[in-house]
Amino acid sequence: MKWKNFYIGLVLLFLYLPILVLIIFSFNTSSLNILFEGFTFKWYGELLNNVSLLEALKNTLIVSITSTLISTIIGTISAFALKKYDFKGKKIINQLLYIPIVIPEIVLGIALLSIYTFLHVELGLGTLILSHIAFSLPFVIISVRAVLDNMPSNIEDAAKDLGASNIKTFWNVIVPTIMPGITSGAFLAFTLSLDDVVISYFTAGPGSNTLPLQIYSMIKTGVTPDVNALATLILLAVFLVLGISTILQIRNIKRQVKV
């Protein structure tokens, strides 16, 4: 049993090693990221002065939040529509949805770049948002569909029978019931969007650099330790959110075990 725990620990160490390094060096007085020379908070202060990084962060948040919102709304409605109605081309659409999930991101990236160029759409935040919707929407649909398939089938009938219109049935009964699928789909879309490098690389325009793209160019030209500070802050936020949701879920598991 001990060596199994050791193995689990080793894999986790592999996953966390680069992150730990970043956190430690974000407090390092030396800007060389080689040896730890002394403790400081100064990089966190400098972060506030790094205009291009903050600009990139702002762009990233605009793109991620907008694309997640749109993907989640369209994804939820579409998952429902694809399940409930038969219409022309439904089979093909169902197949097309898997394309962004399976093909290499770079192919979708150059395909979107090509079509934007062909249609003379200027690259910028708009094309970024559109592209992020392109790759995240199928994930929302699959996530919502999984919950929708487990929904008791006749509650929709029950709502209509009790006088609810199509819209009220969808909004008052179906949406609350499939909320877990919607939130996990939105969460997935948001994290995919936040971290996307490949597709953004092709579809961002000048002046619409996202955080990953900014860091990419910094890595090639020279990273300042305030990036470490930013990484640490992002990590902190992620672990806070995940920590809380995990504690809640574990409580649920424990409660179920008791019952």
Binding site: V11, L15, Y85, Y98, A111, V198
Partner: protein, 283 residues
């Protein structure tokens, strides 16, 4: 009337999406791949198969080969790391399992480029690992841990490992424990229990994970750029260069179409082996 209006409103967005953001771009790339390009990056409306013929040039074929070998090695290493990990974790109590899986996912919710940068700090000549190895006198000169194939493979394995762990863990935890006990009870040793029961029952999870590691690995040009040092070229970089540097879009499109076809063949094989499309991507 009322019914059909609601139906129209909720089915239109997905139709537009599928047409405009998926079908049209892909079909346009397909069309591009049969056109000619001029010396200045422009596209000439003349149909040709030359782009596909060019792929068979030794230079490009070797990029294909190299990409598949590197992606194959990364996939293999991911299996070697993820499979025992998934099995060991599945033997833990439910809430420990939950925490473990959150710990696996958490790093991947942070910026992947920042994490790549963490690896640079670790792997470079004057980096932490080399400093450590020299301090304990395992080596007297710094080792070349990045800016080579090794660096690329470390980067790929690191970035794609969760996409292997998630489906494999989900397959492993679905295996009925009583079947394993029954096998033991019937006298099967550990190896036989594994090869006869565990492996076949988790094969689709392994296949799923392999797809989700192998295919992206071919296209992740930024890992090759950062940890490979830009000297090496894999398919992702080749496509990127055709579109952004060499500006030979039709040739880049042809390579992309070949990549799509390879992807489809792999997915078809996955489906044929009983794989569920909705489980792709770690669901």
């Amino acid at each position: 009337m009322y019914k059909s209006l609601f139906q129209k409103i909720i089915t239109i967005p997905i139709i537009i999406y599928a047409l405009v953001l998926i079908a049209m771009p892909i079909l346009y790339v397909l069309a591009l791949s049969f056109l000619k390009s001029d010396a200045y990056g422009g596209i000439i409306n003349e149909i040709t198969l030359q782009n596909y013929i060019d792929i068979f040039d030794v230079v490009y074929l070797s990029v294909f080969l190299k990409s598949f070998i590197i992606a194959g090695i990364a996939t293999f290493l991911c299996i070697i790391i993820a499979y025992p990990f998934a099995i060991f974790v599945s033997q833990k109590k439910p809430h420990i399992q939950k925490i473990m899986m959150v710990l696996v996912i958490a790093p991947f919710l942070t910026n992947s480029l920042i994490r790549m940068y963490g690896w640079i700090i670790l792997l470079r000549k004057e980096g932490i690992i080399n400093t450590f190895l020299q301090n304990i006198h395992l080596t007297d000169h710094p080792l070349q841990l990045m800016y080579n194939d090794l660096g690329i493979i470390i980067g790929l394995v690191y970035t794609l490992l969760p996409f292997m762990i998630l489906p494999v863990y989900s397959a492993v935890s679905k295996v009925d424990k009583s079947i394993l006990e029954a096998a033991k009870d019937l006298g099967a040793n550990k190896i036989k229990t594994f090869t006869n029961i565990m492996l076949p029952q988790t094969a689709s999870g392994l296949f799923n994970g392999s797809l989700m590691v192998f295919i992206p690995a071919i296209g992740y040009f930024f890992i090759v750029d950062i940890l490979g040092g830009g000297k090496l070229m894999l398919l992702g970089n080749l496509i990127k260069n055709q579109f952004l540097t060499a500006r030979n879009w039709p040739f880049g499109a042809a390579i992309s179409i070949v990549l799509i076809i390879i992807t489809f063949l792999l997915v078809k094989l996955y489906k044929k082996k009983g794989g569920n499309m909705d489980e792709l991507g770690g669901f």
